[in-house]
Amino acid sequence: MADNNNLLVQVEDLKIHFFTNEGIVRAVDGVTFDIHSGETLCMVGESGCGKSVTARALLQIVHRPGKIVDGSIVLYRQKSHDQIEKVRISDLEPKGREIRSIRGKDISMIFQEPMTSLSPMYTVGNQIMETIMLHTKADKNQARARTLELLEFVGIPRPNRIIDEYPFRLSGGMRQRAMIAMALSCNPRLLIADEPTTALDVTTQAQIIDLIQGLQKDYDMGVLFITHDLGVVAEIADRVAVMYLGNVVEYSDVYTIFNDPQHPYTQSLLRSIPKVTATREKLEVIRGMVPSPFRRPSGCPFHPRCPKAMPVCSEIEPKTISLTENHQVHCLLFDEDAKKPVREMAS
């Protein structure tokens, strides 16, 4: 599907820990994935599994007690026509000049809350133009012209009026469109969308998703799309990373994930999607709750809730196993080495 020339971002064994007063929270604990241009990677998983933290790490904007403790994030940046520059984002100083020149330019981000993601104190135009003038040499007039273009492009009616409007006077959908316009303003190579539609109504959700999908085609961007909604995943994803408690538990193309899921967590996740059939069945729910981040289960963190848990699961942390070249599972069921010695001891 995606060849390596298109490689945009490569994340390897990323670990992000929060050093809180109560103890260390391993919010992201060894995550590996990559994103290619022109491709949508969907990240799914229950609340608190570390999706947003991972996304923020790509821009080095992880919140305060959080720190990237291990692993690497590499951005492949087109320097000139046929020259590609490797930037190790994970090594950059979070407040430094270099990462700032990447933010909003090479990688931009749309957040979950359109209501509060724009400041109510400045006009929409002001906030979009700011990004343009920051990263390009455009003067005020050029930036304004570009902003009008962008607003029109993201489907905002009467951009001439909206550009001087304050965000709090716009509807949620309009604000999210303005956010997208802002994110697109410098032609980013990677767009990170962290649950961009959760706060919107269903129709607007569909519109925004269509918009992002269309833009991706036009710009040949890479998109990292974070969502809870498996329906959306089925609609837009090229590849899917399923996360559970700081790990990518299953990582493959969208067809494999939906048709041939291997990890028990992915399987239960898919089973909990309601199907409209003649006889309505009770929705299957994954038993138990997401454990508290401070009381992370030993071994495989999913084992207390796993229908296929083996004794060994509470003892050994699983490794990532490649089933095929593009299907990785983070589960001991597929780790023959790990299973063997325990069986021998048991017999």
């Binding site: 229950e46 609340s47 608190g48 809870h228 909604d229 498996l230 999607i273």
Partner: protein, 381 residues
């Protein structure tokens, strides 16, 4: 296919599933617990809390902690300076202070006090001294410490213009100064929660009217009004009546802030997600209020109260200092500070400012405590 249900299912599980009766109880219990843990981490607040407790204990058992009664005087020792207490003599626990002698200043020829190291005044713990009626109920004469020989001078923090013990008077004053804060807050709290509660629960026109009224009252500078009202208290009134009047006057000014807190809490809580969730889950309204609203609310109120006591204490002190508040023979820190109105007096007898030190410590401690309580009460931080 739109699959919002899975969203709900996922969200549900994150919040611990549909709450049942027992879940609700657990949530409430842990909320208090969480607050306590958070508060305990706040070292300064713990320290403040301990200090506040200490001062209220002093106030409660003033008769015991004060070496002498606050009215006891000795005209022989007018303006005697503070004595240093020594605990050990010849390696044994035997507390004592040195006595006083007169000296003539070689320059001005004025008589001044000096410590006479040749005179040793032995002290005793659990000394039988001035007889008192504890809380006006029980007779007693036990004091934590006092001179073995009752006629010996013992002025830890010096003596005032009538030869009364400043230390003992500060302890007795705590009783008045600290309760003014408590009683005042109780009154303004009652008014505040009534007015704010009505405002927040009824809403609409009533809310609007009350808010305007509060706005007006808040924009009136407090001190002139305090002064005006306090100046109206007739001189002929008994000490107790004056005490209550002053407390009422102080609390008349303090309730507006509390009313606003209560109202905004009610409004916010009506909107809060978890109340909505409880409503969706069919928890009856009455239980909703007691199990969900009150705990989240009480903690804020307690913090606000703690933070408004210092204002009352400072107000009483200022009024009494100006001579418009409590009057002798009632003794409060403000009343004691009346003696320091003249600079010349402070210059020669600086120990008369000790009551101010007590005020500062108590107000600081209450602020620390209140700050910690407020932080702990805020579940989102």
């Amino acid at each position: 296919m739109t699959i919002n249900e899975i969203d709900l299912a996922l969200a549900d599980r994150a919040s611990g599933g549909p709450s049942t009766e027992s879940d609700v109880r657990i949530e409430v219990a842990t909320q208090w617990q969480l607050m306590w843990w958070k508060f305990r981490r706040h070292k300064l607040a713990m320290f403040g809390g301990a200090l506040v407790l200490f001062f209220y204990l002093l106030a409660a058992f003033a008769e015991f902690f004060a070496p002498v009664n606050f009215t006891t005087y000795n005209e022989q020792y007018v303006y005697a300076p503070p004595q240093m207490i020594h605990f050990f003599r010849e390696g044994k626990l035997a507390p004592y202070v040195y006595g006083y002698k007169f000296e003539r200043d070689p320059v001005s020829y004025k008589k001044t006090w000096a410590i006479d190291k040749s005179v040793i005044i032995p002290l005793r713990f659990f000394n039988h001294g001035d007889p008192y009626k504890f809380w006006g109920l029980f007779r007693g004469d036990l004091h934590l410490i006092g001179p073995v020989n009752a006629s010996d001078p013992f002025y830890l923090l010096g003596a005032d213009k009538s030869g009364r013990d400043v230390f003992s008077r500060i302890i007795y004053s705590a009783r008045v100064s600290l309760t003014v804060g408590l009683v005042g807050v109780a009154i303004s709290f009652t008014i505040g929660i009534l007015v704010g509660g009505i405002s927040g629960l009824v809403g609409g026109v009533v809310d609007n009217l009350i808010q305007r009224l509060i706005e007006i009252l808040i924009s009136i500078p407090t001190l002139p009004v305090w002064l005006a009202l306090a100046a109206m208290v007739p001189l002929s009134w008994s000490a107790l009546r004056v005490y209550f009047m002053i407390t009422v006057i102080l609390s008349l000014v303090g309730w507006m802030g509390l009313a606003r807190v209560v109202r905004s809490k009610f409004l916010a809580l009506r909107e809060e997600d978890f109340i909505m969730a409880a409503q969706l889950d069919g928890v009856p309204r009455g239980r909703m209020i007691t199990k969900h609203m009150i705990p989240s609310f009480l903690s804020h109120i307690i913090a606000s109260i703690t933070l408004s006591i210092p204002g009352m204490i400072l107000g009483e002190t200022a009024l009494s200092f100006l001579g418009l508040g409590l009057r002798p023979p009632v003794v409060s820190w403000g009343v004691m500070l009346q003696d320091t109105q003249k600079v010349a007096v402070i210059a020669i007898y600086p120990w008369l400012l000790f009551p101010a030190v007590a005020v500062i410590i108590v107000v600081l401690a209450l602020n620390f405590l209140g700050d910690g309580l407020r932080d702990a009460a805020d579940p989102y931080q």
